[in-house]
Symmetry: D2
Subunit: 289 residues, 4 copies
């Protein structure tokens, strides 16, 4: 099967992010016209939605205002609160690192899966990705469809092409492509999200993006790809994009406010927490309009 292994050398750990050239970054910066940074991330809290197979996050205060109300001393007048989280790295808005998934015991670029042990990934950890600045492109399937896509809706190549046309631009190598399916928006309207059933890319459409040279693919759903999977397959888009093409995925984006701005392209900046050997990271991607 086609893949991008070796394209940037046998030691490469950044995959398709290498496709973002300096000229692309400069061009993306020129898209800043309003001077308005917009967060594309969900709020993180113990009550955020997570799939049943994964625990939620916990947030603990090591010290807080209540301690002072209860009489804690304040040397030099100083009062302070601080806190600790227990956080699954694939919850909320997060990026999948290139060591997150694979098949045939081999990771992207031919690294052995045994590089990923209990102390983290010796290769392809999220800390290897580096910060991302690129042209962001919003493909608004909610706008195209006139409503959020329904659960289990598969976005195929034709619909992908229609959304690109509606965006009024041509995809270029190094783009960060963001897909608005409406999945999460429905939950914000009070409907419980279903992590086992969601609209998303089918494999053919995903390969169109990969072959087109996108640097990363993001979406407002949980898995970028459509769920449930076709018979006999499990996360086929993850397998091909992450492991074969070295394309990091951004999941759980908040895209409705961006869509309301009416712009299809913008400066996109995203930087994962550089956690050594982690398979992903929560992050707060920014569109600068």
């Amino acid at each position: 099967m086609k893949n991008a292994w070796g394209k940037w050398g046998g030691a490469d750990e950044r995959g398709a992010l290498n496709l973002i050239g300096a000229a692309d970054v400069r061009g993306a910066a020129q898209l800043v016209r309003q001077g308005k940074p917009l967060s594309l991330a969900q709020q993180i809290s113990p009550t955020m939605a997570v799939p049943k197979s994964r625990p939620g996050m916990m947030h603990f205060m090591n010290r807080d205002g209540g301690d002072y109300a209860a009489g804690r001393r304040r040397p030099g007048g100083f009062q302070v609160a601080d806190d600790t989280v227990v956080m699954p790295l694939h919850a909320g808005t997060h990026i999948d690192a290139l060591c997150h998934c694979w098949y045939d015991d081999t990771l992207y670029n031919g690294f052995a899966a045994t590089e990923v042990k209990s102390n983290g990934a010796a290769k392809l950890g999220v800390d290897k990705l580096g910060p991302i600045a690129a042209r962001g492109v919003l493909l608004d399937f909610v706008g195209l469809n006139g409503a959020p896509l329904h659960d289990g809706f598969a976005i195929g190549p034709q619909m992908l092409a229609a959304a690109i046309e509606r965006a009024g631009l041509v995809l270029r190598q190094g783009d960060a492509v963001l897909l608005r399916t409406g999945w999460q928006e429905r939950s914000q309207a009070g409907e419980a999200v279903n992590f086992d059933n969601e609209p998303g890319l089918d494999l053919d459409a995903a390969l169109v993006l990969a072959e087109g040279g996108v640097a990363l693919v993001g979406a407002d759903n949980f898995a970028v790809e459509v769920l449930p999977f076709s018979e006999g397959t499990v996360f086929p888009v993850h397998q091909r994009l992450i492991r074969d093409y070295g394309i990091p995925l951004l999941e759980g984006l908040v895209l409705a406010p961006l869509a309301e701005e009416g712009l299809s392209e913008f400066l996109f900046v995203a930087a994962a927490l550089p956690i050594r050997g982690a398979t992903g990271s929560p992050l707060n991607p920014v569109a600068i309009l």
Copy 2:
């Protein structure tokens, strides 16, 4: 004492970040000439340096390549690794939210400290800051001094002025000012950092920045300000900048690589994890050159 309370309304929770105008963001975007994003964050790992009074982070794999080596099944060929962290929010490269510290039982903008309870800060949480895009200004005290500043070295107003002059620019309202003291660089050379003794801003210099309208102050040390404190004071710069002026602090930045670029101004983008009611957040700030 002077403060910025009420300046952006009694309900404001963003403080000095309000000083970054749309024109400032547009101007900062124009500084992108090389098309090169540069991370200003430390790697996060269980072995990163933390002060004795705070626990380090932990990184756990929920599933990894070893499980498959040990015979775990792979339905549909799919193999996956994921992970969880236990992470203090004020470790490594992080931002201090406006609820992080205070005095006289009152937070920035007059909010009661009792807003900060065991379930987080109902006011001024890090999730209220929003993403930051601004002109970044590097003040390189290592360059000015010819070597890293020694522990306990207090940067006063005169030295601050000298560093600004050396940078060849004038500070403007809404700037993100980053101070390179060299504290952390010494540790990267194998010397153990001392969290109780470090070079940093004195209160007078900090107030010059606050009165000058900076939007945020960052540094490559642990506390922005000089340690140990003057007799009878405890974190005086934190008290005044965060609580009185509403200026978030960025701590633990990695600035040597940026200094090597020889640029004093650049597009600066930083976005905290929007953790509801948190007093801070690890993050990966980016200078886009």
Copy 3:
């Protein structure tokens, strides 16, 4: 209202456990006839039932057999696995310390609630209880009723008396009284437990036990007491037993296997993890038959 404050001195932090005299322990040891220790605890795992308002536990392997399968070195031939848990202290089978709940801002024995801050309880922490050895008495309401009690069933003084009579003994000062309601057993049969609705003690029956001089009260349900509460009250049995009488509660016991043994009295041994200033602790109580 009646209470046990001051009964064992103003500094006492062990409450009703003081009622267990040396002769009681010796007498309880004489009850060992079969030589058979029986665990009264639930298995602890990430899939154990917890109320919605509390997170479950997490279990992480720091190192495991998979790491060696993936090639980890084994100096001196030695191979090792170890692990870490994130554990709420009031999940599964656990004991409520005397600082766990209160009213009127005052804890058991008159200690101020402000003793319980973010760094734990300076008074009445679970580490102050000490190990417990006593006569255990099983009151089997499932046996009495011929079936598990239904959700919301309130055990009143009369039914309590009937169960004691059925047990064929007289309650003595210093007894550890264990109540089998059947709540949890139903869940083990596949029915989901309901943490908001369960059979348990009503306040009158609880006060009979308290006035009778029991050292601790345990049950196989989540709260010892009946849920939902009477109009206008919230955990009335907790308030009175823990705060007024200094009686620790044991919750989430597994009592069906003990009931099957057909013995009403036995040597009961329970020792909380001595976590400094904790409000409770998971533990594995043992009946030695």
Copy 4:
């Protein structure tokens, strides 16, 4: 090499604990003469000593008295505090389960090490041990030596025999043998414990105990066995006792108060938290005198 594999059947997961017969438990209960339970556990806290290679525990309050001081509502008058710990399972006073260590990729009783994956040990988890009641025997090397043993002191078979003789008894099959070396007591006197250098059993003495039919071996040091190891070996006593003989180890016991009682034998009760598939568990063992 000699081992106990198959001795209790190929499916056995309790190892030498099977050696404790019902008559042994009954006999142990007869040793209760004072009616006094004594904890043999260290206090657990974030400041407890842990080896450098392992993180300490963390203790977080989910709610506390400070919250009420800061104005939290109290429905029905009820006020409550609860908490969560992050706890390494081999810290403080803890038991090593039979899946904790091994060699040649094979665990006790021939189970494959690949049974121990990221989701825990499918075989030989600490939850398989069951509660322990046995005759406890204190071997007081501090008493024998007239002072705590010095770091690196190896207890050999001859010294073991001397301590048994001093105890005035004969070891019997099914005994729980507890060794007081004094290592930890020195730290309680303000001296920092050294986890890399401690007095403990040498391999020959350990094998004497194993062949003598002890059910478990406990000690007041960190590893039961002497550190540093003999050239070319790594935890040889762990390898042989746990993996070959199926003998759980109890580490970090507090034995000075027990020694002060002047009794060599007593009813010993210990029950690990039944954490599914865990390699160990903190616990609070009790000597009942």
